[in-house]
């Protein structure tokens, strides 16, 4: 028992030492999938995994770092998708500019939701975010002159990158989603190690104590929602271009719940966890397609077992890795930290 334990520890240490190489290798593998010319179905699933990873990372900032549950993340997803689709279809704006607009506007709605909910917490916050989702959905349904109502928006153009058309079939959309995912992972990691991330995590740990340290917690809660909304909007813009058709029912409460499930299954606060969670929960229904009837049973069962035996999620436990000091910090004592547990 003890021996296997030390092997496990050694493996972990090996990973920490060579993390950069591991990450580069993983990225290389994921990029190489693009050159393999897989079939369209496979690319579509891969793209969805990337998009849900981004969505989960986005929720992770609010739920994982700040400890505030949002059940309305599908709303930001839909705002990103709609803004980008409308800009492209109606105004013939280039995809990449539409993408930026989608991100900004989704972020703005995140800001609004953050502003209105900054004094709420727990179930009150969760209910308000559901309300927000429904309001956005209703607006999309009823504002026919802009959103085309229940018919949705069709024939969303394929994005072009310097004349090269990105489609699901040629893997271009997958590559696009992958780049967006890598950017999101980088950003989440940078955020986590910064003052912003620390203050968000402090809010999750103890809101009152954070206030008493002179941190304007309300401001940080709004920032968290803004960033989170923008990230979910990013996923939405790419989704619109992949699917080429969106309607208000594409983004419903189930979508929100799936994002929450990914975040919890993967492990709140863990970036790797979000990726693993998205991989499992998005590919799962595809693998079990032949048992479509029992899909949700298995799904529910997994979450139930998780909650009982590993409530912190697959990768959500506190890392035993020594703290990474910024370069140039003089640390006098030897073996600082050691095993943090």
């Amino acid at each position: 028992m003890k021996k296997s334990n030390t092997i496990y520890v050694k493996l972990k240490e090996f990973y920490w030492k060579n993390e950069k190489h591991f990450i580069s290798a993983l990225i290389a593998i994921l990029v190489s999938l693009y050159f393999l010319n897989l079939n369209q179905y496979f690319y579509r699933v891969l793209t969805m995994i990337c998009l849900y990873s981004i969505l989960a990372l986005s929720l992770n900032i609010v739920l994982g770092y700040t400890g505030r549950l949002s059940l309305g993340h599908a709303a930001f997803y839909s705002i990103g998708a709609y803004v980008s689709a409308i800009m492209q279809v109606r105004y013939n704006i280039d995809f990449f500019i539409a993408l930026i607009l989608g991100v900004i506007i989704a972020g703005f709605f995140g800001f609004l939701l953050g502003l209105t909910t900054m004094r709420l917490s727990g179930s009150y916050l969760a209910i308000t975010t559901i309300g927000f989702l429904e309001v956005i959905r209703m607006v999309l349904l009823s504002w026919e002159s802009v959103t085309n109502g229940a018919f949705g928006i069709q024939n969303i153009p394929r994005p072009k990158f310097f004349g090269y058309e990105l489609t699901t079939a040629n893997g271009g959309i997958y590559l696009l989603a992958l780049v967006a995912l890598i950017a999101s992972v980088y950003f989440s990691a940078a955020l986590n190690d910064s003052k912003l991330g620390r203050n968000l995590r402090a809010i999750k740990n103890d809101d009152f104590a954070t206030t008493m340290m002179g941190v304007n917690t309300n401001r940080y809660k709004v920032i968290a929602f803004t960033i989170s909304g923008a990230m979910a909007g990013l996923a939405g813009t790419i989704f619109a271009s992949m699917n080429r058709y969106i309607d208000p029912n594409t983004f419903n409460f189930d979508t929100s719940m799936l994002i929450v499930c990914i975040c919890i299954l993967g492990g709140m606060g863990s970036i790797k966890g979000q990726l693993l969670g998205a991989l499992l929960l998005v590919s799962f229904p595809e693998i079990l397609r032949s048992f479509a009837l029992y899909r949700f049973v298995v799904y529910g069962l997994i979450l139930l077992v998780m909650m009982r035996f590993r409530p912190q999620g697959l990768l959500g436990s506190l890392s035993t890795r020594p703290y990474k000091f910024p370069r140039g910090v003089k640390v006098k004592e030897e073996g600082i930290g050691g095993e943090p547990l």
Partner: protein
């Protein structure tokens, strides 16, 4: 002029008078204790000082600035930092991160700096972390920097709370029952630690129940009972003050 001057402070919670016309002053470099039976209004006083509640009446002047009814953020910026009666650390964060959160108001970089990890960002993070490490080293927690706060022994958690308060950049600390729940050895260590802080130039306002601690380290003591100041003076004066003995032990012939 005193460092902190509380003048005729009154706080009502609806009908209940939690603090009644209390005046306290603290000079630079002193250790001042506030004692009193449970419910005497000590923690209320601290909460007014740190901006948790608005005051009903009276003035709080710190370094010549009126601070009553200001937000906790503003008050921390003027230089008051506190610890809590029940330890309120960021449990699932590293020891060093706890201190860094305390220092967060002194870290300046923009969102863009963060995203691109500019030189400004790296310098600010490095300086802040160095400062946090220096604080941890000066209070003997450096070897635990990488630990999660929840895994520290109780006595060290108390110290970490003080370290976090120091990191806000203050030289005036208010400690809410730092010795609560400590064993005699831990209490002894804490007393020496607080004396050391005084030696380093910190001014300390303290709520404490442990009479051993109070009598040993205080320069002056205030006694509160039912929201009123009933006595003030040097430790040995307070120990023999009839009103204090009455408040703590009851009046002679009180039993009926």
């Amino acid at each position: 002029m005193s460092l902190l001057e509380i003048k005729n402070l009154t706080k009502n919670f609806k009908g209940l008078v939690a603090l009644d016309n209390v005046s306290i002053h603290v000079e630079e470099g002193e250790i001042v204790s506030i004692i009193g039976p449970n419910g005497a209004g000590k923690t209320t006083l601290f909460n007014l000082l740190t901006g948790v509640y608005p005051v009903t009446q009276g003035e709080i002047v710190f370094r010549g600035q009126r601070i009553e009814n200001k937000s906790p953020q503003k008050i921390v910026q003027t230089g008051i930092a506190r610890t809590f009666q029940n330890i309120r650390l960021f449990k699932e964060m590293r020891v060093i991160e706890n201190v860094l959160v305390g220092d967060s108001n002194n870290i300046n970089y923009s969102f863009i700096d963060l995203v691109f990890k500019t030189k400004r960002y790296r310098n600010a993070e490095r300086e802040s972390t160095q400062k946090a490490m220096d604080i941890l080293e000066s209070i003997g927690l450096a070897q635990y920097a990488s630990y999660y706060a929840q895994n520290l022994p109780y006595g060290l958690q108390r110290r970490l709370e003080i370290a976090r308060a120091i990191a806000t950049g203050t030289s005036f600390l208010i400690l809410d029952e730092p010795a609560a729940g400590m064993n005699p050895q831990e209490t002894e260590d804490l007393m020496n630690f607080i004396k050391d802080l005084k030696g380093k130039g910190y001014t300390i306002l303290l709520i404490e129940h442990d009479m051993n601690v109070v009598m040993n380290i205080s320069d002056r003591i205030y006694v509160l009972d039912y929201g009123k100041l009933i006595a003030t003076g040097l430790p040995h004066e307070i120990a023999t003050h009839p009103k204090v003995i009455e408040a703590y032990l009851g009046q002679e012939g009180d039993e009926e």
